[in-house]
């Protein structure tokens, strides 16, 4: 079955849509990338002889460390709760998604305030064992890797569990029926089947790490992104900052490349019968204790403990004598965040669905290229996307002005539009990746059958792909929504005057160690991010077994 048997005349509209979406994503990034063609040689020479080599090594170690940590933790836990029963295994199945609601910059400042050099734990340690007693350096690359891993592993966990349930269960049972032992079946049948999901999760985790600039600063870890910021804000040399930022882009492309290599040519669809999930083996004795305590430790350390600490602070702040005049501004911050999230989710999910369908109906090479181009947006750090979008919209503004349609300062200053554009550039990729995996799992024969029976592409998309990929559309909306809610660098850079969101509030307060005051907005982000996490967990657990 090839695309040539479908009416070729119907395909170009889909290809064109994918190309338009990809262009809108790529243009801002491209405007930045091309800046390297006219390099600021003196800045490069100066940076190369001072900070840059260290920043490159630090970035590489951070990315690899977080990816390995998240894959081990995420895939390991997914296998543990999918393949075994132990006390609490059902509860942990969904609780392990909870850290998904915890932005790294919140866990970061919590870690520093409790475990950091002047936090209560090290204070107690010093009074117990002496002023010079050794304690692992929390403000370090290692500390940052642990903190990132604890909040990012759910990406790998979610994707792996979905793959285990939808794709690997039947094959695992077949392998067992044919005489393979449990570990042999896991290694030889399940692992290859879930490898694409693990690879995709690992790539997302690396991109999330690459885009951060708040958490790494809390931990004193100097990545290339931090270097770009230092040049941008410290020297005002915006050309040089955009040029150095192309190195971040290079890291992102490497992450994408690694995913493609790890995924290999693997492409699996399951046809015939609903997946029934794995038959879970019952763990007993010390194995059960170990499994339960591992899951409990992760959930406590990455989510429950931090939330309790934030709650204590928030209550103390509201009941203390200082009062919180900032509380008056709370509804405003909240409303700004909600507006941005809703608009971004709607736009990203719609566009992602169109592009994912274009890959079925449009020209294969064109649409595949478009989808890869869109992935770049997510890998470019938020502030760089912001700057690129600013460059692009200012160019549009000027062009409109030249043909007499200009509204003075409309785009540049009425920048809620610009903000939404930047969010879409950044968050279309995770949405698309989720929708593509859903639409990709619809057997090609099914699409072909619908088309052969006379349904035009739009109808095929609506009546065949939407119902079959509904779970992935939902996942896309959740991924985009949570990301948009947590987003910090873009909004710091592009927000219209007075348009502060909850993350901006948290960041400003936490940067000055005003942890108690940062607690309420931080909790709010987590609570809102919990709602989609809850729906996601129900989807994950509530499907037919």
């Amino acid at each position: 079955m090839t695309s040539t048997s479908w009416r070729p005349s119907s395909t170009w509209g889909w290809s064109a849509s994918a190309i338009v979406a990809a262009t809108l994503v790529v243009v801002p990034v491209g405007m930045l990338a091309t800046s390297v063609l006219s390099p600021s040689r003196d800045v490069w020479a100066q940076q190369w002889s001072t900070r840059l080599p260290g920043e490159l090594v630090t970035t590489a170690v951070l990315l690899v460390g977080v990816a390995v940590g998240s894959i081990v933790l995420g895939a390991g836990l997914a296998w543990l709760v999918s393949a075994y029963r132990f006390p609490g295994s059902g509860t942990f199945g969904w609780m392990l998604i909870l850290p998904f609601a915890m932005p790294s910059y919140i866990l970061g400042f919590l870690t520093l305030s409790t475990l950091g050099r002047t936090g209560p734990v090290q204070d107690a340690w010093r009074s117990a064992f002496g002023q010079d007693a050794w304690f692992p350096a929390v403000e370090s690359l290692g500390g940052a890797i642990v903190a990132f891993t604890l909040v990012l592993y759910p990406y790998v966990y979610l994707l792996t569990r979905a793959a285990l349930r939808d794709q690997a269960a039947g094959a695992y049972q077949a392998a067992r029926t044919l005489g393979a032992g449990p570990s042999e079946a896991a290694r030889r049948v399940v692992l290859p089947l879930v490898r694409p999901a693990i690879a995709a999760g690992g790539a997302v985790v690396m991109m999330e790490t690459l885009t951060d600039f708040a958490t790494v600063q809390y931990f004193g870890v100097d990545t290339v992104s931090v270097g770009v910021f230092r040049i941008w804000r410290g020297t005002y040399d915006r050309d040089a900052a955009s040029e150095i930022a192309t190195l971040v882009l290079a890291f992102a492309l490497m992450a994408i490349g690694m995913e493609r290599v790890a995924r290999g040519r693997a492409k699996f669809g399951q046809s015939g019968g609903a997946a029934s999930g794995l038959d879970r083996r019952v763990l007993t004795g010390w194995r059960a204790v170990l499994a339960t305590s591992t899951c409990a430790g992760i959930v406590l350390g990455a989510f429950v403990g931090p939330v309790i600490q934030l709650s204590v602070w928030a209550i103390r702040e509201q009941t203390g004598n200082r009062g919180t005049p900032l509380l008056d501004q709370y509804p405003g911050y909240l409303w700004h965040s909600v507006q941005l999230v809703v608009v971004t989710v709607v736009i990203c999910t719609l566009v992602a669905f169109v592009v994912a369908n274009a890959r079925r109906f449009g020209g294969r090479r064109t649409t595949q290229l478009a989808s890869r181009a869109i992935a770049v947006g997510y890998a470019v750090p938020g502030p760089v996307v912001g700057i690129g979008v600013l460059l692009a919209t200012v160019a549009v503004d000027r062009a409109l002005g030249r043909i007499g349609l200009g509204l003075p300062g409309f785009v540049a200053t009425g920048s809620l539009l610009v903000l939404v554009y930047a969010y879409t550039v950044r968050f279309l990729a995770p949405g698309l990746s989720a929708v593509e995996s859903g639409v990709g799992q619809v057997p090609e024969e099914m699409t072909a059958s619908a088309r052969t029976l006379g349904a035009p592409p739009i109808e095929t998309a609506r009546r065949v792909h939407v119902p079959l990929a509904r779970a992935s559309l939902f996942t896309a909306a959740v991924l985009v929504g949570v990301d948009a809610l947590k987003e910090l660098p873009i909004v710091l850079l592009l927000r219209p005057f007075g348009f502060d969101t909850l993350p901006v509030w948290v960041y400003n307060l936490a940067s000055e160690s005003r942890y108690e005051q940062a607690a309420l907005p931080a909790l709010s982000i987590i609570v809102v991010a919990l709602l989609p996490v809850y729906l996601l967990s129900r989807r994950l657990e509530g499907s037919p077994r």
């Binding site: 950091g116 004193g220 230092r230 410290g234």
Partner: protein
């Protein structure tokens, strides 16, 4: 009216903006572990080898650290500024915010450091026995380095007249409201600072008259110089 309320060295030479409050960046020390007479009083002193391992300072991404180094460049020249910052890099534990510097000094992890005065004001407000004190830097010479919070009116302001009235109010009757909450010093010399810092830190100190526009223009040079000095 604004020109009467705010001293010229705290305003833009072209009257584009006016300083409203002052943030002094000065030297702090652990009052339990050190005698005030032994506390260094020049920024350059902290570059001396005797302070190795005893100093906590702010990282080079921070604008206050940048502006302090820019003022060194403006007043001591490139070579001397590079020598000082290199000495800092050798001596100091470099941390990511002023509050952590103060807490590290209080915990005895360092003896001295450089922070903005109002962070110490905030700490003393929460805990009057917080064991960190302040000395005003460079009092036998140019005076302590000061950053400004200020305001101006944008070109496309919809209500320039109201904006001007608001700025004027902030520079006069509004000064008290501005500084009471944040422990900064008022820019208007006829307005007294809030009681806590007036009592703890005093009002009688010399501030570096270097124009903010001058050290602002050297900010990029300061970042590059810190890179070259190996100052994180």
């Amino acid at each position: 009216m604004l020109d009467g309320a705010i001293p010229p060295e705290l305003s833009d030479p072209d009257h584009l903006w006016y300083g409203l409050t002052l943030r002094a960046r000065t030297i702090v020390y652990n009052t339990d572990r050190m005698d005030v007479a032994d506390v260094p009083t020049h920024y350059a002193d902290l570059a001396d080898p005797e302070w190795k391992g005893r100093v906590c300072m702010r990282d080079s991404s921070n604008v206050y650290q940048q502006s302090l180094v820019a003022s060194l460049i403006a007043e001591d020249g490139d070579a001397e500024a590079l020598r000082i910052v290199t000495g800092w890099a050798n001596n100091a534990e470099i941390l990511n915010n002023d509050v952590i510097i103060l807490e590290s000094i209080a915990d005895g992890l360092c003896d001295v450091g450089i922070v903005n005065h109002y962070y110490l004001g905030r700490k003393l407000e929460e805990d009057p026995s917080f064991p960190v004190g302040l000395v005003w830097a460079e009092q036998d010479g140019r005076g302590v380095h000061v950053n400004i919070s200020g305001g101006g009116i944008t070109k496309y302001s919809k209500h320039p007249e109201q904006a001007r009235q608001f700025l004027e109010w902030l520079a006069t009757d509004g000064q008290g409201i501005l500084v009471d909450a944040n422990h900064e010093y008022p820019a208007n010399p006829s307005v007294p600072p809030e009681p806590l810092i007036a009592e703890e830190f005093g009002t009688d100190f010399t501030r570096d008259p270097l124009q903010a526009s001058v050290f602002g223009a050297l900010n990029g040079d300061a970042v590059r110089l810190m890179d070259e000095a190996g100052y994180r």
